[in-house]
């Protein structure tokens, strides 16, 4: 007979206090392990939902920390530009060089600028930018807030009558949401420049003709879904980074875990959001 385990349904005391002493159930070992896993996942989802609800509430409440928000925009946006520019340009070059033989086979090499432009603007630009930002910005936020938690800086803000959630979390999340679409546009532009360079490696097309060919294949409506999903990518990166940092444990090891989790979870969620966005765009 399998061993009987008692599962105590414990919901985080601070969040939902009245459930703290919930019922004990008699379960088999297998069910106990499954229930414990499910409980962990559901608790995580619940806490994340409360975190998002608090961000929305505090964003629209009074006394927005505008100065800190501007500083975060500078840190997140301006300081990411070189990385985004280089990556975008390289993606443009690589995509052009890789696509050229296939188009050449069908005698459609003049379609190359247009095809690359559609790929970059609709998909590659937003996704690559989001993944880079998940690594650079997400890990930065996770590590910074995690470190502040470990060294009691967040507690110090709390006791000096400053709302650390509003000062640290809301400003960062709003900054990432608003800055990411701008970075995506910058990555798109860099990608097209890279593509022009790629086209000119084995051919000769002047920049005016290249732009004319590229933009003949795309219209304004290609930008809209890409920009809309960029806002969601920004939200995912900001929220996941802040959630992991703000809820980091007490030891120094927690800082590494917070940074790592921020990158892994936000990168995964960027891909998931992209898949959903593509499905929705396809239906329209």
């Amino acid at each position: 007979m399998s061993k009987i385990y008692k599962l105590k349904i414990a919901i985080p005391v601070k969040k939902v206090k009245s459930f703290a002493s919930a019922q004990s159930l008699k379960l088999s070992e297998k069910t106990y392990v499954k229930a414990k896993k499910a409980h962990g996942i559901l608790t995580g989802i619940g806490n994340m939902s409360l975190f998002i609800a608090r961000i929305i509430k505090e964003t629209f409440s009074s006394q927005f920390e505008f100065k800190e928000f501007l500083w975060q925009c500078f840190k997140i946006g301006y300081k990411s530009l070189p990385l985004i520019a280089i990556t975008g340009a390289i993606m443009g070059v690589v995509l052009t060089i890789q696509s050229r033989p296939a188009l050449l086979r069908f005698g459609a090499v003049t379609l190359l600028p247009g095809m690359v432009a559609v790929s970059i603007i609709r998909e590659i630009g937003p996704v690559i930018t989001a993944l880079i930002c998940a690594g650079k910005i997400g890990s930065g936020i996770g590590a910074e807030l995690g470190s502040m938690k470990v060294t009691e800086q967040i507690d110090a803000m709390e006791v000096s009558a400053t709302n650390p959630f509003k000062y640290l979390v809301v400003t960062r999340v709003v900054a990432v949401i608003l800055i990411l679409p701008i970075l995506v546009l910058f990555a798109d532009a860099s990608g097209l420049v890279g593509s022009w360079v790629g086209v000119n490696i084995k051919g000769s097309v002047n920049i005016v003709l290249f732009i004319s060919q590229a933009f003949s294949s795309i219209n304004f409506m290609d930008f809209i879904p890409a920009l809309i999903k960029s806002f969601f990518f920004g939200a995912v990166i900001g929220i996941v980074g802040c959630y992991n940092g703000y809820n980091a444990g007490r030891g120094t090891e927690s800082v590494g875990i917070a940074a790592n989790s921020a990158v892994v979870i936000s990168s995964l969620l960027v891909i998931v959001v992209d898949m959903i966005a593509v499905q929705i765009t396809d239906m329209l």
């Binding site: 470190s147 060294t151 800086q153 507690d155 110090a156 803000m157 709390e158 000096s160 009558a161």
Partner: protein
């Protein structure tokens, strides 16, 4: 609990100062999971008094001080601070009350992305919003002078030594003129000379700013320098209470282990 002297009545009748109650804790308990950290703690802090809470590491001292400012919520018991029941305050009321409390963290908790000047201005600009730029500058210079670190104004926390960080942290708490100072292990991790300097500084701050102070420590030298009255915690409970000399004279082995 061992009352090493007649308690606060005797202290009050000692006539050292007029005694208003600024902090009263009654039957405070706090646990984490199955571990009970604080068990029915009761204590009182009077106006302009330095009360030292002494105890070994793990006796629940830091948990106690965090419960007082509601960084942690107690499981049971009451905390009355400056006439307000802490457990019944909403966020805005709590923030208003926290403006009157200075909290020196064990680690210093300086904001490491800000310079010393920005660290000092951060609470000042938020709590005293009506100050002009000139007044802010004067206040920053004044507190830095008081802690003897005027030259550190534009340094980053990473450029400061442990003792300097503690001093700047102390300056950051006194800059908003708190009524009550809470010190969490103010001398931990410092050499004996610097520890003594910090202890003297705590004493001077109390004299100059007329604050009431609750000092959590396991450093007996710090207690000797700063204490008007001592409460000793042992295994999460108030073990004894009295004046320094009463503790020094005690034959109790648990007390003697600190004072020998």
């Amino acid at each position: 609990m061992k009352n090493l002297q007649a308690g606060e009545d005797a202290y009050v009748s000692g006539g050292e100062k007029s005694q208003g109650l600024v902090l009263e804790i009654n039957n405070l308990s706090k646990g984490f999971g199955r571990q009970e950290v604080l068990k029915n703690i009761s204590l009182k802090l009077f106006d302009s008094e330095n009360l030292v809470v002494l105890g070994k590491s793990g006796s629940g001292k830091s948990v106690l001080i965090k419960c007082i400012v509601r960084l942690l919520d107690p499981d049971s018991g009451t905390i009355d601070l400056l006439g307000h029941r802490m457990g019944s305050l909403n966020r805005n009321e709590l923030d208003e009350l926290r403006k009157k409390i200075g909290f020196l963290f064990q680690s210093g908790a300086l904001y490491d992305s800000m310079t010393v000047k920005q660290n000092l201005e951060f609470p000042l600009r938020r709590i005293k919003k009506n100050l002009t730029e000139k007044e802010v500058k004067e206040k920053v210079n004044e507190v830095l002078e008081n802690v003897g670190l005027s030259e550190a104004l534009n340094k980053m926390p990473s450029q400061l030594s442990g003792g300097m960080r503690k001093r700047i942290s102390l300056a950051r708490t006194i800059i908003v003129d708190p009524l009550i100072m809470l010190y969490d292990e103010p001398t931990t991790g410092l050499d004996p000379v610097t520890s003594d300097e910090i202890s003297q500084l705590i004493k001077n701050v109390q004299k100059k700013y007329k604050t009431s102070s609750l000092i959590i420590t396991h450093d007996i030298e710090c207690a000797r320098t700063t204490a008007d009255r001592i409460i000793m915690l042992y295994e999460g409970e108030v073990y004894s209470e009295g004046k320094l000399e009463d503790f020094e004279k005690s034959n109790d082995p648990n007390i003697q282990s600190f004072f020998r």
